[in-house]
C-alpha cells in the first residue's frame, strides 16, 4: 500500500521530466479533452437529471409540515446538488467511465508493447501519454460538473412541478433563496481535485500493467475502485478544510 503510494508519487514526478514540446502536448491534450467530454457527456446528463429529480421527490416526501413553505424543496435541491451531489456523484460516475477507459487503454498499450515503441523512439511515454490525460480531465471535469448542476436543478424542477408537489414559482423562489456563490467555487474546486485523482490514479494503474488481457481487466477494475475511494476521502478532506 505504502509502496504503491511511493511508486505513484514517482510516477507523477516522471510526467514532468523529459517533456515533449508544448505544441505536441497541447495537441494531445485537446484530443484527450474532446474524447473525455464526448464519452461522458451523455451519462453525466442522464445521471444528474435523475439525481435532481429524485432529490426533489424525496425532499418533498419528507417535508410534510404545513409551517415550512413549499419553496424549501427547491432550496434543498439546490443545496444538495450543487454542494455535494453534482460534483461528487458526477466524479464517481466519471471514475467508472473515464477511469476505466484510461486504465484499459494504457494497459493495452503496455502489454502490446506500444509503450515500448514510444520509449525506443526516445519519447518519455509516461509524460507523452499521461500528462495530456490529466490536464484534459482537469479542464473538462469542471465543465461537466457545471452541466450536472444545471441539469440536476432542472431535473428537480421537472419532477417537482410535474408531480404537483410545488408550483414553478415556489421552486424558483426556493432555488434563489439565500444563495451562497462560494458553494459553486467549492464544487468546482472539488471537481478539479477529483479530476486529478481519477486521471492520475487510473493512468498509474494502467501504465504499470504487465501480462495479458486478464491483467488489463484487473487494472481497469483497480483504477475504478481506487479512484472512488480517493474521491470519497478527498471529498471529506476538502469539506473539512474548505467549509
Amino acid at each position: 500500500m505504502l509502496q504503491s503510494f511511493g511508486k505513484y508519487l514517482l510516477f507523477m514526478q516522471s510526467l514532468f521530466t523529459r517533456k515533449e514540446s508544448a505544441k505536441i502536448l497541447f495537441g494531445r491534450t485537446v484530443d484527450e479533452a474532446i474524447l473525455i467530454g464526448i464519452n461522458s457527456i451523455f451519462i453525466v446528463a442522464i445521471v444528474s437529471t435523475f439525481i435532481g429529480a429524485v432529490t426533489c421527490v424525496q425532499v418533498a416526501y419528507n417535508l410534510n409540515n404545513a409551517f415550512i413553505p413549499r419553496s424549501t424543496i427547491g432550496f434543498m435541491v439546490r443545496e444538495m446538488t450543487i454542494l455535494e451531489l453534482a460534483p461528487t456523484i458526477t466524479s464517481i460516475v466519471l471514475a467508472g467511465k473515464v477511469g476505466s477507459s484510461i486504465a484499459g487503454g494504457l494497459g493495452t498499450m503496455q502489454i502490446t508493447e506500444q509503450v515500448d515503441a514510444l520509449e525506443v523512439m526516445g519519447i518519455n511515454s509516461a509524460s507523452y501519454l499521461v500528462l495530456p490525460k490529466v490536464v484534459a480531465a482537469i479542464l473538462v471535469f469542471p465543465m461537466l460538473v457545471i452541466l450536472a448542476m444545471f441539469l440536476s436543478i432542472l431535473g428537480g424542477y421537472l419532477a417537482g412541478t410535474l408531480s404537483g408537489e410545488l408550483t414553478p414559482q415556489e421552486y424558483i423562489t426556493g432555488i434563489r433563496d439565500q444563495f451562497i456563490p462560494y458553494n459553486i467555487t467549492f464544487a468546482l474546486i472539488k471537481s478539479v481535485v477529483f479530476a486529478f485523482l481519477i486521471s492520475s490514479i487510473s493512468s498509474f494503474r494502467g501504465y504499470y500493467t504487465s501480462g495479458g488481457a486478464l491483467e488489463v481487466g484487473a487494472a481497469s477494475t483497480a483504477a475504478v475502485t481506487n479512484s472512488v475511494i480517493a474521491i470519497l476521502i478527498g471529498d471529506f478532506v476538502l469539506a473539512y478544510i474548505l467549509l
Binding site: 523529459r18 515533449e20 515500448d116 515503441a117 525506443v120 523512439m121
Partner: protein, 305 residues
C-alpha cells in the same frame, strides 16, 4: 556496428542473461537464435535500452550507450528502428499516421515532406494504398510491414526485429524475412533479428548467434551452422526440423485437400486459376481456415514461457 560486452541480467534473482558478448555487423542481418524463453527478447531490450542490464555495456558504432548521458542516449535512440513481436502499432492511429508518427516526433520535416516519406516507406514495404486503414483492419503480415515502415521512416541506422515472422504463415514469414534483408542491404544498416525459426537462418542469416539459457553458445554463418558440434545447437536444429517436417506433411495434406475441393469448383464453374502473384499476395490476408496451423499455436504457446 553494434558491440555488446558481458551483458548480465537477472529478474528477481533469476538469471536470464549470463555474460553475453558479441559483435553485430553493419549491412548484414545478424540473427539471435534460440528456443523460447532463453532471453533473446531481454537481450534485444537491453541493447536498445528498454531494459537496463545489471552489468555489461553496449556500443553503437563506437559510441558508448548503456549508462551514458541522457542526450547521447537520445541521440542514438533516434537512429534506432524497432519492429516488435506483436507489431506494436498504435491502434488509435491509421497506418499512415503510424508511419508518420516518428517523423513528427523526431524530425522537423513539414507535413508535405513527411507525407512524401510516409508514402515512400509504405511503397517500399509493398503497402501503397493502405494509408487510411486502421491497424485492426489489416492482417498480421501487413501489420509487420507497417511496423517495418514505421521503423525505417526516420532513416534509421539500426534495425531491431523481435520475431518478425512469429504468427505468420510460412509464405508471408518468408516475404517479411526477405524484405528485412533487402532493406538492410539497400540502406546499409545494422540489423539484429531475434528468431527461433531455422527457416530464417537458412534464408537470411548472414551472421548467427545462438543463445542457450542466457549464454552465447555458438556464433557463425549459416553455412557453418549445419556442421557444428555444439550439442545444444544440434538438438535445437533437429527439433526445429522435426517440427517443420510435421508441418510440411500437414501442409501438403491440406494443399491436396484444397486442390481437390478447388478442382471440384473449377470443374463446376469452368474458370481458370488466378495468377501466382495474386495467390502469394492474398496470403497476407487473414484466412478463416488458419493457415498457420500447429506452428502458430506452438509459437505463441511457447512465448508465454
Amino acid at each position: 556496428m553494434i558491440e555488446i560486452h558481458n551483458i548480465h541480467k537477472a529478474f528477481d534473482g533469476k538469471k536470464v542473461l549470463d555474460g553475453v558478448s558479441g559483435v553485430f555487423e553493419t549491412g548484414k542481418t545478424n540473427l539471435l537464435l534460440g528456443a523460447s524463453g532463453t532471453g533473446k527478447s531481454v537481450l534485444l531490450k537491453c541493447i536498445v535500452g528498454l531494459i537496463k542490464p545489471d552489468l555489461g555495456s553496449v556500443t553503437f558504432d563506437g559510441t558508448y550507450f548503456t549508462n551514458n548521458k541522457l542526450d547521447i542516449r537520445q541521440e542514438i535512440r533516434r537512429k534506432i528502428g524497432m519492429l516488435f513481436q506483436g507489431s506494436a502499432l498504435f491502434d488509435s492511429m491509421t497506418v499512415e499516421q503510424n508511419v508518420e508518427f516518428p517523423l513528427k516526433m523526431l524530425t522537423d520535416m513539414n507535413k508535405e515532406e513527411r507525407m512524401d516519406r510516409v508514402n515512400f516507406c509504405l511503397k517500399r514495404v509493398g503497402l501503397e494504398g493502405a494509408n487510411k486503414k486502421m491497424p485492426s483492419e489489416i492482417s498480421g503480415g501487413m501489420k509487420k510491414r507497417v511496423g517495418i515502415a514505421r521503423a525505417i521512416a526516420p532513416h534509421c541506422t539500426y534495425l531491431f526485429c523481435d520475431e518478425p515472422n512469429s504468427g505468420l504463415d510460412p509464405q508471408t514469414a518468408m516475404k517479411i524475412d526477405e524484405l528485412i534483408k533487402e532493406i538492410t542491404e539497400e540502406y546499409n544498416i545494422t540489423t539484429i533479428i531475434v528468431t527461433h525459426d531455422m527457416n530464417s537462418v537458412i534464408e537470411i542469416g548472414d551472421k548467427i548467434m545462438f543463445l542457450y539459457e542466457g549464454k552465447k553458445l555458438w556464433e557463425g554463418t549459416r553455412d557453418e551452422i549445419m556442421d557444428t558440434d555444439i550439442h545444444e545447437l544440434n538438438e535445437f536444429i533437429f527439433a526445429n526440423r522435426l517440427m517443420r517436417d510435421a508441418k510440411k506433411v500437414e501442409d501438403e495434406e491440406r494443399e491436396e485437400e484444397e486442390e481437390r475441393r478447388h478442382n471440384g469448383q473449377v470443374a463446376s464453374q469452368g474458370k481458370e486459376k488466378a495468377p501466382s502473384e495474386e495467390t502469394v499476395e492474398t496470403r497476407d490476408e487473414p484466412q478463416p481456415e488458419n493457415p498457420d496451423g500447429p506452428a502458430a499455436t506452438t509459437q505463441s504457446g511457447n512465448d508465454k514461457v
